[in-house]
Subunit: 108 residues, 2 copies
């Protein structure tokens, strides 16, 4: 069975939804803080366009990354762990095979 | 002679450059203040994307508007006056024909 064809039990779905939400909230809160900190330092037009470029990239990244779809969720979690928005132990409750795959992918 | 084919004397060019620069600085400073005021009120992701949309529109508008080109300058000044970034009397030194045209266009 390929990694993107595995099934998720009800318990796993609960764990996955909670972890996904937690990572999302962490990243969004960090982004909000970043933008606020960044904005108070704006003193010239170039700073504004730099903020605009940063937001364009972030929007694209966040829209793409937070795709709650069981066929790709193992990859999503691996990315979130790699980027520090989630800890592997917050996925406790998923089956061992998924955890092993997520752990390995997150170190790639 | 069409309005976009008129010539600009050395004195008029000086007046135009100074007025253009003044309007640009006013608008940029207002934008910087706007972004800073706006950013401190950001509390959720939607606010960030709203700021992003605002900056996208502003960038497009400013890039398009501040076109220092004598063939279109009468129209540029009319727009700047209409939007409140410049006063007609700050263009004193341009010939009367141009001032009349700019004044009329700014009220359209």
């Amino acid at each position: 069975m390929k990694v993107n064809e595995v099934s998720w039990s009800d318990l796993e779905q609960e764990v996955a939804q909670a972890a996904f939400q937690k990572a999302y909230e962490r990243e969004i809160n960090a982004l909000i803080q970043d933008v606020r900190d960044n904005a108070v330092q704006i003193s010239e037009l170039e700073d504004i366009w730099r903020l605009h470029n940063f937001l364009s990239a972030k929007r694209h990244e966040i829209d793409g990354k937070y795709d709650y779809n069981y066929s790709v969720l193992v990859f999503v979690f691996a990315t979130l762990i790699k980027q520090g928005w989630l800890h592997l132990d917050e996925l406790k409750g998923l089956d061992q095979d998924k955890l092993t795959k997520i752990g390995s992918l997150s170190r790639m």
